[in-house]
């Protein structure tokens, strides 16, 4: 079996169990919330329009935005209740995901339940009243069973939507089958993307079929069919959830942003922790802003960030002091403000740089960003998704008065493709990216030092700063990874022919730190 497929299958039970847990919770909550609201909407027609409209509005919010919005909301809420409860609650991962998905599941459940309940024959309602049923008896004995088929159809729709949308929860740090899709997209591992899609689709189909059995059972009042459907759901859910019981949820949560280097470094940290006998769990695909907050609030325990990013985004500084000064000030600031510890630098820098194809630069006579500024109005800039909204970009633009003909954002993989294809002339590259060497790109000099240094730093959450196991595990990494090795590791994952999974690249780096990891230990 292909190594990448084997890797995907290895993590399937873990991803699947998280995905099923998340979807099941959201669906159950959606039903518990949606059905009573539907009863209210039918009993009090004035509520009907507002309820259905709000549910429909929620549906129009893109799933990924809904998930993202819950993070600051929960963060604020957590800060609000923290003094009352003594501690806050995690604002990342399961909670925002389950809340967003519940809201998503609400519309089909609510709409169908309202349609089902108001579609009951009025003669039957009159008969129920006339034989002396109380409103409650009428609901439970007459309206609910008669509306059941329509209500079940709504629940089926909600289930399929929820299982599909749950793949997006990867972005807020909740493990799901979406981990395949997002990491596959970043590392250009299409097999992984397909694997994730297929797994989610199969899960949705199976769930839909079992719910269909329940629906048929409810419609035909066939106890056996109903029981078979419910039993299938129960057994399937229980089976999918067993990995959760088996392994204690990882003690150390390692965070990663959404690009290859971050996946590799997170795997490397996890590997070091496991070597010390600890269990580690990855939270991958987090955004730059989210990940630091998550560390400060203790949702994740450790991750790698870059000094320049923290300098501008967290400290809000616009100057670019010398490396050593910056590192000192940054460490003090993070310790004072957020109780986050900078454990140390890995030894390489991953700066934002502007890069061009070498022959194109030669043709225009460009070697520095200052040279570039004169040609910029005729050139197109390609960037990653966040660069154009980052302070580094405004600093660069200000320092050199850059004004490009057009500016376009890509996922990193496609950005390099666009440069190679000539769709754009300049890109915002990362200095540790293996593709700079592989594609023979020219990194433009920054004579005005508009962009600060970007040393890769291991950051530790306040909760983990006194943890001896973590210190022992990660100490060997400090200063141990030169930029050439990082580029090599990145290229192993990003190259288009014969790429490897981040875990494999992490093993390559681990071997640098402790040679016995590669099995090369002398007897």
């Amino acid at each position: 079996m292909d190594e990448r497929v084997a890797e995907a299958v290895r993590v399937l039970p873990h991803y699947l169990s998280q995905h099923v847990l998340l979807s099941a919770c959201a669906l159950v909550l959606g039903v518990l919330l949606g059905l009573p609201l539907a009863v209210l909407a039918v009993r009090y027609p004035r509520l009907r329009w507002p309820l259905l409209t709000v549910a429909a509005l929620i549906q129009t919010i893109p799933g990924i935005a809904l998930l993202a919005l819950f993070y600051p909301l929960l963060l604020g809420l957590s800060a609000l209740v923290a003094p009352l409860l003594g501690k806050g609650f995690p604002a990342l991962g399961f909670l925002p995901s389950v809340l967003a998905l519940t809201l998503y599941a609400l519309l089909p459940i609510l709409r169908n339940a309202v349609a089902g309940l108001s579609g009951v024959n009025p003669d039957v309602i009159e008969a129920a009243n006339a034989v002396g049923m109380t409103p409650r008896q009428r609901l439970l004995w007459v309206e609910a069973p008669l509306a059941a088929p329509v209500v079940m159809a709504g629940i089926r729709t909600a289930a399929v939507w929820t299982i599909g949308a749950a793949t997006l929860s990867t972005v807020v740090g909740q493990t799901s089958l979406g981990n395949y899709i997002f990491s596959g997209l970043q590392t250009e591992n299409w097999l992984l993307v397909l694997f994730g899609c297929a797994a989610a689709a199969v899960l949705a189909l199976v769930t839909d079929q079992l719910l269909g059995l329940v629906e048929i059972g409810a419609t035909r009042r066939n106890g056996w069919t109903l029981a078979a459907g419910l039993a299938g759901l129960a057994v399937g859910t229980a089976a999918a959830l067993t990995p959760l019981l088996g392994s204690p949820s990882g003690r150390y949560v390692v965070g990663a942003k959404n690009f290859s280097e971050q996946y590799i470094l997170a795997e490397l940290i996890a590997e070091r922790l496991e070597r010390e006998g600890a269990t580690a769990q990855l939270r991958e695909g987090l955004g730059s802003a989210v990940i630091f907050r998550a560390l400060a609030s203790g949702d994740i325990g450790v991750y790698v960030d870059y000094s320049g990013t923290l300098w501008t985004n967290v400290m809000g500084r616009r100057d670019a002091p010398p490396r050593a000064v910056m590192l000192r000030e940054l460490s003090r600031y993070l310790a004072d403000h957020d109780h986050v510890e900078v454990l140390g630098a890995l030894g390489f820098e991953n700066a934002y740089v502007l890069a061009m194809r070498r022959e194109r630069a030669k043709e225009l006579g460009v070697t520095t960003i200052a040279d570039l500024a004169q040609h910029a109005p005729q050139l197109a800039l390609g960037s990653d998704i966040e660069f154009l909204s980052r302070p580094e970009w405004s600093a660069l633009r200000g320092a050199y008065a850059l004004d490009f003909r057009s500016e376009r954002s890509y996922s990193p993989t496609f950005m390099y493709r666009a440069l190679a294809a000539g769709d754009v002339d300049v890109i915002s590259a990362f200095s540790s990216d293996g593709r700079i060497a592989a594609q023979d790109l020219l990194v433009l000099a920054d004579p005005r030092h508009a962009i600060p240094a970007y040393d890769a730093l291991i950051l530790v959450s306040p909760r983990r700063s006194a943890d001896p196991v973590l210190r022992r595990a990660l100490a060997p990494l400090i200063g141990a990874i030169p930029v050439e090795r990082m580029r090599e590791a990145n290229l192993m994952v990003d190259r288009s022919t014969d790429p490897v999974v981040p875990r494999e690249a992490a093993r390559f780096l681990a071997a640098l730190v402790s040679p016995e990891a590669a099995g090369a230990k002398p007897p």
């Binding site: 024959n121 003669d123 309602i125 009159e126 006339a130 034989v131 002396g132 049923m133 007459v142 008669l146």
Partner: protein, 263 residues
């Protein structure tokens, strides 16, 4: 005539906040054991007058009493379990078997299951349906059979009073006549007090002891079928009550024409 079982005392009801009245001021007493038919044109207020008795409609003014007790003082579900109700829409519960449909009110009253089962078989026989029907669902029955089940459901909990709102309106004439007569027999046999709304004067004349003619939300006339058909006091009432006789005369004329043609 025995004492009044149901007293409807100057009730009024508006469905549009007082702009128009379905019932303006209607009073009516129904002695125990009588079969009363409410007749009148559409919008005369006959159905509203019927439905205030078991509180399916609450009057704006006035009061309904059963055995001297104001019905407003009895919780509506409790009141309705004591009164049988049959209506044009039939309203059998489609997801329940015939046995469960018939046994619903005894169940709501908390009868023990064996007793419910026995009573269910008993009333099914009373309305002339075979016991094999008990396990069927309503959609397996014809319209007439369903209305028989509805009658069985109405009398299952041994009510003293049965209210009927155009009960046989949707049935074809032959079945309608048969079920009407069968119900009248049950009314006698079980000592029921029946109030029936119908727009069919002939049906009222053939089934009821007393006919109440309603017009414009008021009681226009009441009396035995014979008395009302003989009365000439009110031209509207006469026009309505003359209907059966005029129809009978026309039918007779058709028959005699046909007889002459044959001869």
């Amino acid at each position: 005539m025995s004492a009044a079982l149901i007293e409807i005392d100057r009730i009024a009801k508006s469905f549009d906040g007082g702009r128009s009245f379905a019932v303006r001021e209607a009073s009516l007493t129904v002695p125990a054991g009588t079969f009363v038919a409410l007749v009148g044109a559409s919008g005369s207020g006959k159905t509203t007058t019927l439905k205030v008795i078991n509180r399916l409609i609450e009057p704006d003014r006035g009061e309904v009493r059963i055995e001297g007790m104001p019905v407003a003082k009895i919780e509506a579900p409790v009141l309705r379990r004591r009164i049988g109700y049959v209506f044009q829409g039939i309203g059998l519960f489609p997801h329940l078997r015939i046995s469960e449909n018939i046994g619903i009110t005894p169940k709501l009253l908390g009868w023990p299951p064996p007793e419910i089962a026995e009573r269910t078989r008993e009333v099914l026989a009373l309305v002339g349906l075979p016991e094999t029907y008990l396990a069927r669902f309503p959609d397996a029955l014809s319209g007439g059979e369903r209305q028989r089940v509805a009658v069985a459901r109405a009398i299952a909990a041994r009510p003293r009073i049965v209210l009927m709102d155009e009960p046989f309106g949707q049935l074809d004439p032959v079945i309608r006549d048969a079920i009407g007569s069968a119900y009248r027999a049950l009314h006698e046999q079980l000592g029921l007090t029946t109030v029936m709304v119908t727009h069919d004067v002939q049906e009222a004349v053939l089934l009821a002891d007393q006919i109440v003619v309603m017009a414009g939300g008021r009681v226009a006339a009441r009396g035995t079928p014979h008395a009302l058909m003989a009365s000439r006091n009110d031209p509207d009432v006469s026009a309505l009550m003359d209907m059966p006789r005029r129809q009978a005369e026309r039918v007779r004329a058709v028959l005699s024409d046909a007889g002459n043609g044959d001869g």
